[in-house]
Symmetry: C2
Subunit: 295 residues, 2 copies
């Protein structure tokens, strides 16, 4: 039985008769190929990456497992449509908190068509991509059985300022981040989620070391997915913390040059997360504008 | 006695009645303030930087010493003109090889005027800035007393492709890089100039560590100047190798964010130089297009 993913935080969703990704009970995530050449490019990336022997195992683990492509009944009822068959990263989790962060101040490759560049550059300038080197594309933060998830809507996320981003990165690891909370984030999970030898920062530093060396791929408009699970974290199980890279419709060949655009943004994100870890009880938080809650 | 600098490799030169920087015998470099607000911005940067107590000494050494501003007779005969009084980085050297590398794939700050952004973006796309994260703005390589300097002209430098850049980074540390040499660069100075504990790579890595942390300044359109001196290098004196940052007309406040644009470009440059060091006898050099020589 296929159904829409209950934990998707960014991109098109398979709801209300729209085309979007589906999941099954066996742990697969079916992502419909985008109609233009982007879908084919992403399929080509996954195919090439899967068989690329020069990707070290400790880096491969950051990518979803790829099971090929498959023709499937599309979620919008339009008939058979090709889908990427990927590892489902979140559905097996009880109460995942997820953040989708598009990394890189530039989301377009040099060789992209002029109108596409114009559109992307406009978005990069209007969001925090250009200023911070990354932008938050979507998120959900689990509060409790009663309060459920805090999941700000897309319009609000698009307007995030640098200070909003700082606040959200704190809320992501706080126990009091529910929708109606006007409280300062307590960052009570910061040390276990961002910190520690298996935490998000350690994993991002591992990725960073690879990006300082690898010249195979440039990842434009690619996202880092940060995942943790409050239930597992409360049990002290660090396995609940995961970092994955997703969205490769604009991955291009590196031609012997490092991906300085992704690397720069990644370093900026690392710095932001380090600051949460270093000052979980930040006294400047009151200076931050209040992020409005979803109605 | 003021005169034009004999070793300027980029920017406007004080020759043929044009406005440009002057030097004196006491080791000062007088840079005329640019007419628009850029000159004032650069003076403001140097003034603020000089008195900023949070710059560590091991980083301050990468910046020219600033001696204030001074009204001077301009080199173009237009009368008195304000100049920055800076440390002269090269005139005391016997036979300096110099490379001026503009670092960062983006040479414009977010808050720049629209027409300025358009102009810069065009240059960034036409040069290697966007693809490599840096571009060579000027260079001279000392050959011998007989052959003098190889100093490609500005038009040729503007057309440098990625492969030209690879070749030039090898020629910069070769003993056979004179103007009429069609030989493969021998990279005979690579280990002492790029390598070693005081070499260019070690110095760039020191800078990189600072850029991963510092959130005070963003340096757009700023250059890294790489300097070595064949005569000193042949004597085995590592003091002949120097890295400096110059050109701060577009330095802006960092506002608590790292300069991910400069950092990304710096990491790319480090990777390029590492490759010269790792494979000084690169067999792929024949695949590189021949860089034309200055007529």
């Amino acid at each position: 039985m296929m159904k829409a993913s209950p934990h998707q935080v960014a991109g098109h969703q398979a709801l209300d008769g729209k085309l979007g990704p589906l999941i099954d009970a066996a742990g697969h995530f079916y992502k419909p190929l985008q109609g233009d050449e982007r879908g084919l490019k992403e399929a080509a990336f996954y195919t090439a990456f899967s068989s690329n022997k020069s990707i070290p195992d400790h880096i491969r683990k950051f990518f979803p497992i790829f099971h090929g492509t498959q023709l499937l009944e599309a979620s919008d009822g339009s008939g058979m449509h090709p889908h990427l068959v990927l590892q489902d990263l979140v559905s097996s989790r009880l109460s995942p908190s997820i953040m989708d962060i598009k990394v890189g101040s530039r989301t377009w490759p040099v060789q992209a068509p002029e109108d596409y560049i114009d559109k992307c550059l406009k978005k990069d300038r209007e969001s925090t991509s250009l200023s911070l080197g990354f932008r938050i594309s979507g998120l959900q933060v689990y509060g409790s059985k009663e309060s459920g998830y805090w999941k700000p809507d897309k319009k609000m996320i698009k307007r995030f300022s640098a200070e909003d981003v700082r606040l959200v990165l704190r809320k992501f690891v706080s126990s009091n981040a529910s929708a109606d909370s006007g409280l300062d984030p307590d960052c009570s999970f910061a040390s276990i989620v961002y910190g520690g030898s298996d935490g998000i920062l350690a994993q991002l530093l591992e990725l960073k070391a690879w990006f300082e060396e690898q010249t195979i791929y440039h990842f434009y408009s690619c996202s880092v997915l940060l995942i943790h699970d409050k239930e597992l974290v409360l049990e002290g199980r660090s396995c609940g913390v995961e970092v994955k890279l997703i969205d490769f419709a604009h991955a291009v060949e590196g031609n012997g040059v490092i991906d300085h655009n992704f690397l720069g943004g990644l370093c900026s994100l690392i710095k932001f997360l380090s600051e949460v870890l270093e000052a979980p009880k930040c006294c400047t938080i009151k200076a931050c504008p209040q992020v409005e809650e979803e109605p």
